[in-house]
Symmetry: D3
Subunit: 157 residues, 6 copies
């Protein structure tokens, strides 16, 4: 696939520690609107992750191996700088709760201050996945609970 | 323009009584992602409107007369039924406040209950227009105030 | 059943215009905690109802005809005054959204100001029913839409 | 008292239908910061009031008869236009709930759009009065309930 | 007291670091609805506590020493797993703010995903205690402030 | 300037790590209402700061060097205790989001519990600065992004 000027390219940034059925729901809703949807895994040195970066990348690659429009990328700089590098004019974000909305709205406006060409497009996940977060998955996982409802099968085996 | 099966068709439903710079901001952000964006004016007999339907239609037509992707339509049935008629798989909505988010989330999930094929895509308006609503425009207008910041120039002359 | 002093009696007040699967979810969660759960239909002269009072009463009676703990009652006075009459020390309310929470919290504290002996107990409905409201059911119904997901079967036939 | 250029003049607009202990709490907190605090009663023809304007004016005058800084005024135009007339550079508003905050923030920004010289100053009422609203007082009053906790004694006798 | 199948058993989980008048208000409202109310102190190794576990247990035991329905328990596993062990079908939680509501709603739905038999019952504290949190008590305590309004007398002497 | 009993003295407490255009907007709105406005920088040993205290103090002093009513002060005790020391009867706070409002409301009521003589006065920043926070500035700064929109020029050179 050649990247051309007319392509609609979007970035879905996050930690994906781990990727959940909530994330997948958002990706599935967003992907038909774009030519390429980059899943951008931010490498944040100050934040401790439960699952190693390699694993997080491979899970996402595996899950979307049959969808050539979904690509995985890692980054250490600002999200708007990554957008410039990959020619993404859209940032994709999911909204579940009021806190999400407040945080995402602030982020979207600040991103637009830093780069006027970037728009954020918001989606809500399937209702049954609305209470899932990576934080909760990690908490259940660390307490030895059953995370099979929350994450794709691939992560459990 | 022939409507084909592969086209991405969206509906932006509302009363547009009147259309504001906030609406226009949402339309401008949404339109590049779709092949057709219908502006759907709901005709609701129980709701009293300040500006007659004819005027509301013409304003929108005039504003977007150079953008063939934007079309105006009126409807009396359920929004999801209109979507079926016009082959729209997407509903476009703007989010300004928490109440917006709460209301729109409820609506989006109920629309999906009524028609599983419809997704709602959310945008936020340009920051400077985030406090505009048709309700406030009508209120200022009826008190003889100056609405020129809130609506396109066309509506004032 | 004789009403005794030790009985835990609760009131679930509302318009129930019409009763929805959301209401039923709340009732089913609340009823095991009480000896009697009154469903109190407020008769409010200033509020227009879509379904006649008689119908609303009968639907609820029919739905819970096998549960002797659930009783239907209508009232015109303040909710706290009805509580005194029926010896209810608890008010049951459902919480779906932030607006619900804000409104219910205000109401609960004002009810406690009016009658210090009354506590409000809150439940959340089953997740799949969280976006249901009587308002939305009436809206779909009046537009000729399909309300079968939202209300018990009894109301449709 | 002569109104001079250096005076800090504020307007506290509302319906005051009726004035509550919540309003009085806000006025008592705001008044030390200003030289004149106008209580502005909006006369809105489309809104039905429970208590006649004359009564609402007299109650406030009586309550603050010993405080020469508090003045009552009625108005039919936009709030920002009244501010210009009375030389008020400040609007005073109370915040109880999230809806209050959302509504007041929107209003404050729109007022500033209409008149750049006007700032809104926000106060929270004494905690015990945080759940009081004129709406709730009217509701209790119309159902024959006891409003003595909610309003100043003067209104009851 | 023999635990029988028909008993209504609830769990009120938390850190109680320290127990506040807000917690006590919730417990007093919840306890009449249940036969046993376990106060479950989660031992979380990653979370630093100000007051040692032993102290937190003893305070609660002391405060409710005359109420045989209130029992203290500590646990390290998932809350839903503790519920299974102690046969609790109800989780009790207090709601003060919007963040509480958002967090508790998410938790309640996730707990129900993990164990379909568990319902969460929500209470609001007495209004005068609505702004109390253990976090704020710890902050005042560490700055040498007076916490006597926020916690039971027992903790101060 | 001699501090007299009749002076209106306010405290605007925070970390100011760093001071932003949002803070400056709040200060500019608050200062006309008071005779002295102390900017109180809390020295919190458990919180890590990006910019050293000395720098934070000097920036604020420099920015307001022509306004004798604005004074900078540092403190380690409770905010209400500082208020007593400096005779401040008012605390000034900015409100941007719902979380701000929730947090500030809780704080204001707890401060009033600790010292009945202190009132909190709230302002909203200029709309264009509503999405600025010190946290976001630090994040952009640490990623090598451009913070010139967010902070006064002085901080960049």
């Amino acid at each position: 696939m050649n990247i051309t000027n007319k392509m609609k390219i979007a970035l879905y940034p996050g930690s994906f520690d781990p990727i959940t059925k909530g994330h997948i729901s958002i990706i599935n809703k967003a992907v038909p609107l774009f030519d390429i949807l980059y899943i951008g895994i931010g490498e944040n040195n100050t934040k401790k992750h439960l699952f190693p970066l390699e694993k997080r990348i491979n899970w996402i690659k595996k899950i979307f191996e049959n969808n050539p429009k979904v690509k995985v990328i890692t980054y250490k700089n600002l999200t708007v700088d990554l957008c410039r590098e990959i020619d993404a004019k859209y940032i994709v974000r999911g909204l579940r709760t009021y806190s999400d909305f407040e945080y995402e709205k602030k982020l979207a406006y600040n991103n637009q201050t830093l780069n006027h060409n970037i728009e954020t497009v918001f989606f809500i996940p399937d209702l049954k996945y609305i209470n899932i977060s990576s934080t909760i998955v990690r908490d259940i996982y660390m307490h030895g609970g059953d995370i099979s409802f929350f994450v794709p099968e691939l992560l459990i085996n």
